[in-house]
Symmetry: D2
Subunit: 387 residues, 4 copies
């Protein structure tokens, strides 16, 4: 019998991380034996990257601390320094909030700052979405997070096996499924898009008739290839223009290479003025899922293509190395960054129709599971490798 | 045929790390296809911790950059912030030095700053002494370093197997033996201690006749138990006082808990004024090995007890959890932090005599091997887990 | 007789600071007894703020160090933290470059980082453009820079008197005139604009016939009133739209409030789609002066209106408190942030014609004077107030 | 009529600053319209420098935030970086505490961090003890603090005139006297030393009979001459040894040069083993004043010699440039750092007896005045120079 609730501090450092764990945040907040301490940091605070903090507050969450930590420059050097600033700042935050456990999410570069600030202060560290495989710096960060963490909530059996192979205690590695699927499940029975994207989200670029069918584009720079960011985005731009099919396009994350990606988009627009592409900075998480569910295909390199779209059955054209070896359903076509390949695969995806729902990333109750386990699992900050 | 030498940047953040890799530094410096960029950081720059930088310069190394990064306070919070400052500063250093590879050593808390600053800037990262097992925060840091690194020079077969299990590419995991054994080998045939410790190193405390036999004490705080640092050191102090046998005692590293350890030593001295203990802040690496080689036993929790002393055959009383599960030879007696156990084991160690030399940590040519491999191994900064 | 040249380290942290001191940089570079160490930092490195570093390199300067230090957020909190990061980073830079003197420029918030990093390391500090008076945080920063500096190059007699009143040694306070006037002088005899702004600088917004007359707009947020940034810019936008006269408009500096200013401009454009305004991010310094020289008026709150335009004789409508009490010629009309006042004053300015050239900010040889004095003035880092 | 109390945030960064403002802290705490937010930072948190935080808590103050910011190294480079870290950390603290005004104290190097963190966030800044004159980096820092501050509580008429000459608004510059005198006043009528220093404060070195007369030594390194710190302290050590009169000696502040000072003391002790000197790390503020009041003389370069001792009438031998031009009473003999001069002046001071109490630094009610004024003065964060 414990005499007090456990304080669970979750650090959100970017827009997509929020939608990924929203259901877990809700379940923690509602659990009588847990108290949520929500920290919003990094690009989730910045207008340029869609100001996720606004959605979060609108969703009714109280924010325990805000941490400005993004150093401008969007190159590998500023990524590294941003992480150093993050360690300093988040250390302060945890020192003052005194959480019983800290949660770090997935594998963005700055998530290791959360891990270090917690682990070095002897606070039990929980890692969500370890054990997956991709390319890029994310691959190093994700597994380093695993080795700094004490408890692991993974999204698939495949991921659980990998975390166990990494030498973690089987009692502390739990396949809860991915909380992002929880969100998908809440809208999976809806019909048609219940809002007009142009009206609700503004944005810039062409306007067009979209009710008969559209695609969604979301392509981020690959940090280990960040000097090619502009080249990569141009291949996709030319392919989508040639397709001449309505397309909703999302701006990239803040990462090394963002400048290249943004420049590519801007100069393409000035030069080619495509009449089938409209650009958004951001969208509320549920609306984004609705947009995916009703689209003919997602193209780019977002992990949403492998994760959320597997449950939705939406066809996906996945470009380049960013999602290398991440587990995928049969809805995914992999291509290299080449305008012809992208164009041809998109043609095929649009005409092929939807795939059956897959549960490889869980069946939609990950958030509740996570909260339940956090309320009664043994919390410790000391471990040794199992072999 | 390469047209230029490879620039290898090695970051030394603490006194013991220097002696551990000195032979590798020499071999890199002498290799015609390598250029050494030596960075001295953290406590290796500080007078309070023995000012390792002075020994390093006296040994003839040029220093490419000095990085002050230790935030005072010696608690988990300042350890974490020191690491954040280290990331910021070392990022600058690598950005300016433009090395072809960066080397990070072992598992002290701040070594992850080197790893992040290199990996995030797409510089191939080499990790020395991965794959070992201990308790404490070191355990998390060491394996996280492994997951951030591209090339691994391990000190034993046992360590190599563990790094492979962690999913690293077998071609990039090489058992070179431990470079610290190289140093041991250079003095292993000497007889008697060639210097008078009191005269050469000053220090404080009792003076005594030592030529007939003495022990060496080196005990660091355990960061995950840092609040017990004072209690732990007092157990050892009482045991060594009771032993009433000449003892040379070394001050601890800068770590969470150093204050507790230092306070324990100081108050014990004022209270008990032991007449068989003399205290040193530091010693040149070779002299320290000579001191160990001629001692009846080493007591405490230094990794030198398991590593260097295995090759020397010196008996070791290893206290507490700090070296848990690190590979050890038959010269090591493990005890918990209890004055009676320590006292009894020391009695036994002193009377039992030396053990045969063991080569579990290598045969003394690790430095040359490391330099040779660095000159021709493929350098890349992108990897994915092997399973 | 000195045996070596003096190393003069100049830190440029923003686009406008570069044009302000360019002639001094050239003179230092060419002086046989001086060596220029040019450090580019802050927003001068950032694409979003016009990437001044590109112009600087194109002008043939070698860059000794680049310092990323801008923390995203553009609010007072990130301004303060940016300054803290700047102190840490610039301290490193000076420690490694070992300059004989460091030059800090004017009064932007981050210039105090240069001052602290130099003064605290006992490096003689030179301040350019002290002794002026304005509103905003600049006012505090400028005079604090004066009190940290050892040598003062001021731009007017008025400024010299003020620095002397602040207790500085008369031998160390020299009225060289403003080096920005040097640049103005080099183009002052040109006729007509020698380039087409639309073609050479791209930009966004309306295109129009400009050869018959245009105005230039440059309005920055006022940091002490940063929450009103959007309101302030909208007043100017409505006034300029109503004027219905060709206008070239420049994006603001990175400062607390930039987001408000940028948002104001963006939403105005979407809503009102003004057909007489074209927007630029940046322009080469000489071209910007040419643009001013040929314009009918400058409107906004840029210090160029008081400084460069006094020598050019261009009419200026100066809005709000940002340039409060800075010395001005008869070419300046001061108004509050009110669309009607701005509109009426602009009407008057356009119809009134040019003013005679004023030399209140110097006669165009400040750069050479600065270099000459730096080569032989006594350099010290210790001073006491004169009263 | 205000509806809520004003939150006054005071930042204490070092042991001596606490005693200097203790009476003001008490008065703020007791004032019904004020709320004290006490921030303890820098060396005031560190065991090595006497752990002022312990005295502060024992005195019954609640601490709103603790800020670790001292970077080890004790040289000009780490002083500068410590200040940068301080800006980052204190910005966070003020952002979270949302004070109505921030108080920065005097002129230690890191006090400018408090000033920047407040001023840049548009928080009204109060400076205590501006307008004085000394040598060293303190001189630059103090006047820079004045130029960043909005309200000035000065300790003498002389100081008030100087702040006015610096261009500050006369309504915002108030001579409250020095709060350190308040503390002196509370013990000024006591007789004899009410405690045995050896028993109450431990310390190291010789023990001796002190009731018949003793001197006090407190000498800090001079940061602009920090390389001479060891030489300077040795002159004083030899003079005091030759005097052969009981002496209580205090360890120096953390500053560039502390290592030199400490080393000087340590090596002198080992070499000369003086039998008339006892060393303390720290003393409770009131006990320190009692010790001064009962001593035959204070020697060194502490500002207490000029300030507190003027009210006490204790003779002072003030060495070197550190207190250059600070206002002093007739109780002070100034000497250069020379053992003969120090010795001779000490002889004279001991035999000369006490001086009459002087009120040049106030009459003992500064704390109450400060609190009263803070409760009703207009708080603003915008100012311009008066000339």
């Amino acid at each position: 019998m414990r005499d007090s609730v456990r304080k669970i501090c979750v650090v959100i450092t970017a827009r997509p991380s929020y939608s990924r764990v929203k259901s877990a945040l809700e379940a923690i907040q509602e659990h009588p034996e847990l108290e949520l301490q929500l920290v919003i940091a990094g690009s989730a605070l910045l207008d340029r990257y869609g100001n996720a903090v606004d959605f979060i507050e609108k969703d009714g969450f109280n924010i325990a601390a805000k941490v400005f930590m993004v150093l401008e420059g969007e190159n590998p050097t500023t990524m590294a320094k941003t992480t150093g600033i993050g360690v300093m700042e988040l250390t302060n935050v945890f020192y003052n909030l005194e959480p019983d456990a800290v949660v770090t999410i997935a594998d963005r570069f700055e998530t290791i700052a959360t891990s270090i600030a917690a682990a070095y202060q002897n606070i039990p560290l929980v890692h969500i979405q370890g054990g997956e495989v991709t390319g890029s710096i994310d691959e190093k960060v994700r597994h380093a997070n695993t080795k700094l963490a004490d408890i692991h909530f993974v999204a698939s059996e495949n991921a659980r096996e990998r975390v166990l192979k990494l030498g973690e205690d089987p009692d502390k590695v739990i396949n809860t499924g991915c909380p992002s699927i929880d969100l998908v499940k809440t809208i999976a029975d809806e019909k048609d898009l219940p809002f007009n994207p142009f009206i609700k989200y503004g944005g810039v670029g062409a306007t067009f008739e979209w009710k008969e069918g559209y695609i969604v584009v979301m392509q981020h720079p690959v940090t280990t290839e960040y000097k090619d960011a502009k080249k990569h985005i141009l291949e996709t731009l030319y392919a989508v223009k040639k397709l001449n099919y309505p397309a909703f396009w999302f701006w990239p994350n803040v990462d090394a290479g963002s400048d290249g990606t943004s420049n590519g988009i801007r100069s393409f627009r000035e030069l080619e003025n495509p009449n089938n592409i409209h650009f958004f900075k951001n969208m509320e998480p549920l609306d984004f899922l609705r947009l995916l569910m009703n689209s003919k295909a997602l193209v780019g390199n977002s992990s949403a293509g492998l994760r959320e779209c597997s449950f939705l059955g939406t066809p996906v054209v996945n470009i380049g190395s960013r999602q290398n070896r991440r587990m995928r359903g049969e809805n995914v076509i992999d291509v290299v960054s080449d305008r012809d390949q992208i164009y041809n695969s998109l043609k095929q995806a649009i005409s092929g129709g939807y795939f059956p729902k897959s549960k490889i990333y869980g069946n939609g109750n990950a958030g509740v599971k996570i909260a339940q386990i956090l309320s009664n699992i043994e919390l410790s900050f000391s471990k040794t490798i199992t072999y």
